[in-house]
Amino acid sequence: MSGFSLDAVAAILFIPAAAAILAALPNYRMTAAVNVAASLLTLLAALSLFVTDRPAPGQYLLIDDLNIVFIVLNTFVGFTTSVFSASYIAHELETGRLTAPNLRFYHAMYQIMMFGMNLAFVSNNIGLMWVAVELATLSTVLMVGIYRTHEALEAAWKYFILGSVGIALALFGTILVYMAAQPVVGEGTNAMVWSVLIENAAHFDPALLSVAFIFLLLGYGTKVGLAPLHAWLPDAHAEGPTPISAVLSGLLLNVALYAVLRFKLLLAASPQAIGPGPLMVTMGLTSLIFAAFMLYRRRDIKRLFAYSSIEHMGIIVFAFGMGGPLANFAGLLHMVMHSLTKSAIFFAVGHIAQVKGTQKISEIRGLTESHPGLGWALVIGVVAIAGLPPLGIFMSEFLVVSSTFARHPWLAIPLVFGLLIAFGALLLRLTGLAFGEPRGGMAPVEASYVPIYSHLALVFAAGIYLPAPLVAWFQHVAGILG
């Protein structure tokens, strides 16, 4: 039934695209409903990829074991975020921060972003992938600036400019890959098709491929939020609507990471090219340690968790840079756990900022007393993201550290150091936020607890017990990643 599976791919792309048009409907409540429904349908289409046969890789589209993981995670978090977004946005409308036309625009952009991200995952063509990543980025830029305040516009502008520079470097890298492939594969589209490239990568000019990878790592790395190029990330997270912070951290960073991984595979297939590992390990460690220290000085709650995202992307890139079955497994698991946990935290933070009317950490106190549902969600989320047992991130971080100890013990020292620094910072902030005398707005909250707690439950369950089929799948994917 290969025809049906192709339909599933088409559905993953077509549903968000159609919903983006539908979201321009005149009634705003409808658009929120359309957003949720479309995200749910896309998730179902993505899940159907597990059971149907896969189409043979074409010139533009590809489904393999690696990208199914990303697509399912992407559409799942996309769906839960759309549920959260519906209640968050309704509140924004009541307080008058957004108007009805804003909302139509917002929901249309949300679906365009989902379209761009899904397209990036299923594309088999490095040119198409580049276009898709650019599309996803542009739509988030527009959403970050949606409040039209001075700060939001500055954040959007900064994101735009840095993102454009990143995307330009990535394009140059893509052109170089084409130049390396062209003498072997021949001119034309084939020299940009990933599945053709990976078969022939051993014959490519290794020097050209190495230079290409450096540009690609810098370019897409800007979007992953790796340390020297991360400057856009905290601003974009802090000033945009919170659902966008959740999808930025939970999803868009993964899209860029996925692009880096695809090119890493190309490089790994060419024995004479530079090893991508050391570069990724260095950038990962730098991001981790830098972000860990930056966590201490944060006064804005969304900015705090944005830096935490940089930290975790650092860990993930570090793990993939180490390579090998165990580290790759740990990296994949950590990526999934981080996406789930961080988006849950942002859901909680979104509601908290709405009831308290501020994002300043110093003005938010005693959440577990004033808003137990949100407060404890935040506590569980932060405990998870800090890497305490028994939650899922503990397990993946433990695997990263232990595989590092087994292979490069001296690299484990800065890794553990960074983890401990970040751990301290997060718990320090958490005690102030969650406990003590309540401060700030006390109004009851109509929060959407389902997305928050379903994510946290998944993270908790993963920390206790990972089902065997999932482990087998991840091990298989880790094997592909080399």
Binding site: H150, I175, M192, R303
Partner: protein, 220 residues
């Protein structure tokens, strides 16, 4: 390859690098935009020449986009925006001209050494185009980091993007070149409209550190 066709392609790509250098020392916005228009015209010629020698007719579209959109529409639009925003008298020297030029020379040397070394077997024209393209990209980045005004950052970005188009057209038979140049034009149109609508004058840095703290939401 015929010596003359090679020389012409070489001349055009080389002039683009030279014009990128000219952008580095412009301290008036109008002058900067005029130089950029020249950059776009030379790019259009260069792309058209590539289209001719590679016999790739679709590249003429890219050349036409460069000529109409980047050499005429955008510069005219930017001229108007500058007048509306009332910043046409602004002089900006975030970093001195001397150090900037030296940094530019360093970047061009870097890209020549890097690209010529890693591509010994490639087609000589593509190879030098690539080295020139990387120089233009790096010089564009340099323009972006040495300027504070949003308009001149946009100009820097556009010259950077011209370098990308040069690289893409130099890579023989590369697909999606036209699509990518259209996508970039849309991106640039977005940026320019954004600058105008939101009256973004300066980037985030300011002499007033207090303003910076305020912006980051980190004032106690």
């Amino acid at each position: 390859m015929n010596g003359l066709t090679f020389d012409i392609a070489h001349l055009l790509a080389g002039s683009l690098v030279l014009i990128s250098f000219m952008m580095l020392y412009q301290d008036r916005l109008f002058a900067l935009i005029n130089i950029f228009a020249l950059h776009a015209v030379v790019l259009a010629l260069s792309v058209a020449w590539q289209a001719y020698i590679q016999d790739a007719h679709h590249l003429y579209i890219t050349a036409a986009i460069a000529l109409v959109f980047k050499a005429i529409v955008i510069p005219v639009g930017l001229h108007r925006i500058i007048q509306r925003l009332g910043i046409h008298r602004d002089i900006e020297t975030a970093v001195g001209i001397g150090p900037t030029m030296l940094a530019g020379i360093g970047l061009v040397t870097l890209s020549m050494v890097l690209m010529l070394r890693v591509t010994p077997e490639a087609d000589p024209l593509a190879r030098e185009d690539l080295a020139f393209a990387l120089s233009i990209i790096l010089l564009g980045l340099l323009v972006m980091v040495t300027r504070r005004n949003a308009v001149s950052q946009v100009v820097g970005f556009m010259s950077l993007e011209n370098g990308l188009v040069l690289a893409a057209t130099g890579a023989k038979g590369m697909p999606l070149v036209v699509e990518i140049s259209v996508a970039f034009s849309i991106l640039i149109a977005f940026i320019v409209i954004g600058v105008f609508l939101f009256r973004i004058r300066e980037r985030f840095d300011s002499v007033d550190v207090g303003a910076l703290d305020d912006y980051r939401g980190e004032r106690r």
